[in-house]
Assembly symmetry: C2
Homo-oligomer: 390 residues x 2
Amino acid sequence: MKTKLSPFALASMLSVQLFAAEDKPPADDWKPCPSNQASKQYPQYNSEGRVKFRIVAPEAKSVGCTFRDSSEFKKGEDGAWYGHTRPLDEGFHYYMIKIDGAEVPDPNSHYFYGASRWGSAVEIPAKDADFYALKNVPHGQLREVYYFSKSSDKTRHIYVYTPPDYDKDATKRYPALYLQHGGGEDETGWGRQGHAGLIMDNLIAEGKAKPFIIVMENGGVSGPRPTNAPPAGAGPGGRGAFNFSAFEKVVTQDLIPYIDANFRTLSDQPNRAMAGLSMGGMQTRGIAPSHLDKFSHIGVFSGGSIAVTNITDMPKFKEMVKLVFVSYGSSELGTNRVGGRGFGGDPKANTAALKEAGINAVFYESPNTGHEWLAWRRSLYQFAPLLFKD
Amino acid sequence: MKTKLSPFALASMLSVQLFAAEDKPPADDWKPCPSNQASKQYPQYNSEGRVKFRIVAPEAKSVGCTFRDSSEFKKGEDGAWYGHTRPLDEGFHYYMIKIDGAEVPDPNSHYFYGASRWGSAVEIPAKDADFYALKNVPHGQLREVYYFSKSSDKTRHIYVYTPPDYDKDATKRYPALYLQHGGGEDETGWGRQGHAGLIMDNLIAEGKAKPFIIVMENGGVSGPRPTNAPPAGAGPGGRGAFNFSAFEKVVTQDLIPYIDANFRTLSDQPNRAMAGLSMGGMQTRGIAPSHLDKFSHIGVFSGGSIAVTNITDMPKFKEMVKLVFVSYGSSELGTNRVGGRGFGGDPKANTAALKEAGINAVFYESPNTGHEWLAWRRSLYQFAPLLFKD
């Protein structure tokens, strides 16, 4: 009897092994995602980071989701459709459900503004989720505010986080951080999926960050806004609607004066910061260095970096800028990834060069995350304690 | 030749006429609904109050919506499905889209919490929509607030409206209205679909209402709330989760003390009101009259009324209660409707009897509305100017 395997047999064995690996049932330790609507048991996540969906669609021919490499959705014993994703990174992921070719929000999830639309997202709780958990500590307020912008000739919609003790002492004044969302997102992002308020509440409760105000603008200028639109997040979020120089005017001519007149800010340059994620990081790099009379602290999360060669007046930059903070999700870095590919060079090397040039420059890499909100929540968590130090 | 018609011919003619009436194409003056997501052209409404949907579902066998008596949905020339509703009342209506038996949110609409879930709604602008329009007037703030409730042993999520000048003068104090949503809704309702902030901003700008604070609680006590839930509207909204006496404790023992300690309220009885819609009106009738040391003004919108026979201590009620305001949508009234059927008698007659008994009682009927938000926005618009008069 021959022991040598024919090439066909080998291929067949490999294929069986591959099939077995793929066919291994997912770990059966499913729990409802914290991003679900109250009392909804699905979607669920497991210890492998897979997400399982349950969709009631009795007469559908096919059901699926927008996560690539998901399992086939099949009808369960209860007649509902079930399917699961590949293992995903911990954190927050936008998605939609597909029913016979229609892309629709999952009726079980909460809805968030991202990818230029309100739609579904799942949260797979991170191992370090405690830093953005809702705790019984003093809480700040997330305030929905309308203000009139002369330069864009319209009433604009923003959120302002005020720290826990803001209303206790009417004489106390606070520094302010202007914090921008990413492309396809809007002014609801940082307060909602970003948990900026909870992150700050927890940092302040532990004495790790100075209390400050956070201002969250839409960042889009040219998009139309219907009268009687719902109060939250109706503005334009797509990158198409963004006009960087128009937004620069909004920030410097309208928004900062409005905030300084209507909130108890410390309104001098040492007490004002700007930061943003992805497109918001690009806006920050575009606006803050050109207005060093206004901003002393700069944060760029997954949105490129600042190269020494791009600083036209280094002595002034050194004198005025108290912090340049640059961060990326770990899997964004590398030659073929977002962090390495564009944005004018390697962000880590650029930031190290800034430091060598005598600037307080900090690089942070969020472990095991890509271009998503867990990386940006962590970036805020790392960035906030470095701000407005005496 | 006979001129007399046979019964069959008559029936046939009638049927043709009926068919013709039903088959008349809807008025072709469609406009995008203001409840759409930014830049979405559908749903649209027309001058008859019909709403037209456009759903992309290439492989679906059938598409529809949850509005009864809607037209059949058919594929248009662009391959998308189109269908429209019967003429609806002006105002705000919850709905879902049906795709091959699945009930899902419309990917084109904004999402609102109602019917115990986040889902779609359409707004057909009312002829009097100006009173809740976003205008270039001084705006108050809608604040998202967490507070710890000892009686329910959890951190609870509320919205607080502060009037336009609240932050201008740190010594000024304001009356407060505790304002409740309906069954299957949550604390997001009044600020979002209710436009409570815009209604107050406009009333205050015109000098028609005194500025006051509005506090919006979830009203549900027993429902669980996941840690790391998204900040907005994650609480229980279904009537099943509500425990009226537990909520009474939350309001009187936790919420009022929290608000009085953390906002600049006038904290005496003449400066505190309670109101609510539907189930929130029932909560108001249940709580306010039992705590006349705390509340002086009572508003019940589409939630029953207060009968003279239900007042146990009339002299005290007369002394303490400065206003009882009762309202209904016009089509709720009548013997077989909500307003007439339950809630202990005819609300209009009950309110007239209160007035005859010497109480400042006001009945308001919202024209051409049913049990929905246009009636309740108008109710707030009528109620607010009557509050906290010197």
